[in-house]
Amino acid sequence: MDYIFDNERPIYIQLVELIRTGIVSGKFQKGQKLPSVRELALAMKVNPNTMQKALAELENEKLIYTERTNGKYVTEDERLIEKVKKELAGEKVNSYLNSMNDIGISYEEAIKYLQELGGKNGIS
């Protein structure tokens, strides 16, 4: 897992985003046990303290939970995962529409573009 961090934004926020994406995409499955903080930090080549902070943030969002001595697990609450997924999808769509708008393409046209080109030029 090699990830290039953007030095201009707090690293922990980028870690939160990364793991959140991992959870909603199913890379980390619901109920799955997460590696230890140190292992995760090593894998991502970041400071364990920063990783700790990121995990604490995710725990606040209830996306992961701590079992007292056993370590950290991904939530089993599917509805929560769905909800977060929707939120993320909403953000992506908005940002897509906004950038289309920037180059003078209207909402309806943007959707047309999506239907015509989606799956051909873009990612499948």
Binding site: N7, E8, Y12, K45, V46, N47, T50
Partner: protein, 231 residues
């Protein structure tokens, strides 16, 4: 109690002030970047913590004590230069470290050396400069110390080696220990820093949490540093 504390610390060489009234505390369990241009006092500060220099005035306290046998037991220090007896063989140096440092983990060192394909029967002066530096890094990181002090660990090495060095530091420092890394190559290490200390002309000009600083200034530490010390 702070791991390291500097109280009104001054150091002069021939009446030239190199460190000017430094007040600083280093907490436990953090990775701290000591950032400054060359010749601004980073190494002097580090040498004062390591008892290689004596303060002109003020004091350095490690766990509340002046530099002493106790502080040397818990500090693992990587200086800028090679400090090994170059006539010795690698395994002799491992024995030396084992002899003097109770917290030296010889097996760990041997394994790390194996990863580098370094023969422990080779003599230090037969090794390349880069290899000598890696050997020293391995020696220093194989100690279960409470404070690691690394003076310019990335100075003058190629990008691949930089990755190796950062990896070795991250994967080997003891949990709960603090690490002080002095450097002027900020962009390479800033992602692993908890705290940053800017030092300029012998003064501490800024101390902050790295992420807070990024959030506040909306820029990378490297960028902020450049803005601070425009030539």
């Amino acid at each position: 109690m702070e791991l390291v504390k500097c109280n009104n610390l001054c150091k002069e060489f021939d009446n030239k002030k190199v460190l000017n009234n430094i007040n600083l505390s280093i907490p436990k369990g953090k990775i701290i970047g000591l950032l400054g241009k060359n010749g601004m006092g980073k190494t002097t500060l580090i040498k004062l913590i390591n008892d290689l220099l004596t303060p002109t005035s003020g004091e350095v306290l490690i766990n509340g004590e002046k530099p002493s046998v106790n502080s040397k037991k818990i500090i693992s220090y990587l200086p800028e230069r090679t400090y090994l007896d170059k006539e010795m063989k690698v395994y002799q140096i491992l024995t030396l470290f084992e002899d003097f440092y109770e917290n030296f983990n010889k097996e760990k060192a041997i394994n790390l050396l194996k990863d580098l394909d370094l023969d422990i029967n080779s003599r230090v002066n037969k090794m390349s400069k880069g290899m000598q530096e890696k050997l020293q890094l391995i020696l220093v990181m194989s100690r279960d110390a409470e404070l690691y002090i690394l003076d310019e660990p990335l100075g003058g090495v190629d990008p691949a080696t930089r990755d190796y060095i950062l990896d070795t530091i991250l994967s080997n420092f003891k949990e709960g220990a603090s690490v002080i890394i002095s450097t002027h190559l900020i962009s390479d290490i800033e992602r692993i820093l908890d705290e940053v200390i800017f030092i300029d002309k012998g003064n501490i000009v800024l101390t902050s949490s790295a992420d807070e600083l990024r959030e506040k200034e909306n820029a990378s530490i490297d960028e902020i540093f450049r803005r601070c010390f425009k030539c």
